[in-house]
């Protein structure tokens, strides 16, 4: 008699449990389906340039001239690839030392003031929309560069400066976490041996947190690499490799943004843009794997 009663009591619980399990599983299945279809659709469109339209992969990756409507049609994406890499690497080169200094300030020099004022300020930087950065870049940085340096002001330098402010929060937040997570004994040992604060920072703190700092920098580069509108607004959008930092250039994202709306779906000019998107996506994967590799290294 006791057994059937028990089973009856257990039933609503089981049903509830089942609902929860199925619901959460469906949600995660949707997420997985989304990413696979995203990769599939972008890849199939991007690859059709090579398989359907017969454009040579090597020509696309190394060609210097982009003239999808020209005669003959030329699909050289090297200027865009060069533009993307140079702006994002330059942005990281500007932002990395700034971010490191800010995180050292917050963790080692003035923890109280830093946590109370600098950190919220940097988090606010992360929240500002990218079009606003683009607008400020266009109305402050570009005119400034135009006055100070030869050229129109637009170009890789303007793009890199705008991007460096955008990725500063990423780099700083990760560096701050890494510095704060450093075992106290390491620093105290160094101070006990008579080292100054700076000696401790660059002989002990910097080497031990380097993989984590690099993680932040790579994440920053990844964000800069994929940023579209802010860069497009300040870079000038000329489809060739510039001879100086202050000459109009293009990135993968700016080329896609500008031309995707003007080409008809299914034409070779449109497919070539999807190939650019595919390059962008593959680079994202590369960045994710570098970050994963660095994270494994940073576990002490």
């Amino acid at each position: 008699m006791a057994q059937p009663l028990e089973r009856q009591q257990a039933k609503p619980h089981l049903a509830e449990e089942w609902v929860g399990k199925v619901y959460t599983l469906l949600c995660i299945a949707f997420l997985i389906l989304t990413i696979f279809s995203l990769v599939y659709f972008v890849a199939s469109k991007g690859l059709s340039t090579f398989f359907v339209n017969g454009v040579n992969v090597i020509d696309l990756l190394t060609g210097l001239k982009w003239a999808p409507e020209g005669e003959p049609r030329l699909f050289g994406a090297l200027p865009f690839i060069f533009g993307s890499f140079s702006t994002s690497l330059l942005a990281a080169a500007i932002a990395a030392p700034l971010g490191f200094c800010a995180s050292v300030f917050m963790v080692e020099i003035a923890p109280k003031f830093g946590r109370q004022y600098l950190q919220p300020v940097i988090e606010l930087l992360a929240g500002i929309p990218s079009v606003v950065y683009g607008f400020v870049g266009l109305s402050v940085i570009v005119p400034f560069f135009r006055d100070v340096f030869p050229g129109q002001g637009v170009g890789i330098a303007a793009g890199a400066v705008v991007l460096s402010i955008m990725i500063l929060p990423t780099i700083t937040t990760i560096a701050t976490d890494a510095l704060a997570a450093l075992p106290k004994g390491l620093k105290e040992g160094s101070y006990a041996l008579g080292a100054t604060r700076w000696q401790t920072i660059y002989r002990i703190v910097l080497p031990t947190t380097l993989p984590a700092l690099m993680t932040g920098i790579v994440l920053g580069i990844a964000r800069a690499f994929g940023e579209a509108l802010a860069v497009q607004m300040v870079i000038g959008n000329a489809p060739h490799i510039p001879r100086s930092l202050f000459e109009s250039a293009s990135t993968l994202t700016s080329a896609i943004t500008l031309s995707m709306g003007n080409t008809a779906m299914g034409t070779v000019a449109n497919n070539a843009l999807w190939s650019l998107a595919l390059i962008l996506m593959l680079m994202t994967f590369v960045f994710v794997f570098i970050v994963r590799w660095l994270e494994r290294r940073s576990k002490i």
Binding site: H13, E16, E17, V19, G20, Y23, T24, L25, L26, C27, I28, L31, I32, T34, I35, S37, L38, F41, V42, L98, C101, A102, F105, Y117, L118, V121, I122, L124, L125, G127, I128, P129, S130, V131, V132, G134, F135, V136, S139, L168, A195, T196, W198, Q199, I201, Y202, A222, G226, Q232, M233, T257, M260, G261, L280, M281, T284, F285, F287, V288, R292
Partner: protein
Amino acid sequence: MSAKTANKIATSVIVAVSGLIVLVLAGLLGYILVRGLGHISFDFLTSAPETIRRGGGIGPQLFNSVFLLFLTMIITIPLGLGAGIYMSEYAPANKVTNGIRLIVEVLSSVPSIIVGLFGLLVLVNLFGFGFSLFAGALALTVFNLPLMVRITEQGLRSVPREQKEASLALGLSKWKTITSVMLPIAMPVILTGTILAAGRVFGEAAALLFTAGMSSPRLDFSDWNPFSPFSPLNPFRPAETLAVHIWKINSEGLAPDAKEIAAGASAVLVITVLAFNFAARWLGRYLYRRFTAIK
């Protein structure tokens, strides 16, 4: 140079750089607000934009942004909560789960322009939604979902183990434990994160260029039937949001006061995002106090 001098120099450089960062941000915010606030008026916020004449407003764009945010969050929150609960509570610790974690990480770092292109291909063309609010909301969901999953996971991880175990020991099912014990405790973290994510959605433009579209039809604000093509509530009409509008008038604006409109719209956008930020902070602190009984 002695070690002490080097220390002093390095310290002052670090302090100076930190000061510079604060100055840059203050300058940035100050510039946007000073340039933009003067242009903001009730008329600017409610009237329709002009293409060639001066004096256009941002009314429809502002409405579209808010409405799109609302649609996006309605879709994102249940999906993100579910997926986050799965990752933190149900997922077994094995290779498949690690794979899913990698997938979520990859999705969160896919550039928003790629998400927009995916939306163009699948939502706009394949599913036939056309340039519409609905397609834009779904694209933003794809873009926002990984963040939501991470926030939910973080929130659930912050629940004390004892509370979860006590609930399970009382004989509550796992799902009941999650919904009526763990989620309320995790609520401050989840809510704060959600508001910050909403701020990000509000300012997003690249994913919307090719999904929600770059134009807004003439809206009739007296028509609230969601199926009418001119109704602001119709989710299947194209809709240009505020962020997209800023980009558009900066790159191809013909109105003589395009710069001022861009400045005003940027100020509105930044103020909204700042409001989201402060609301998240305040709400997080308030809820934390309520739930922990700390004065």
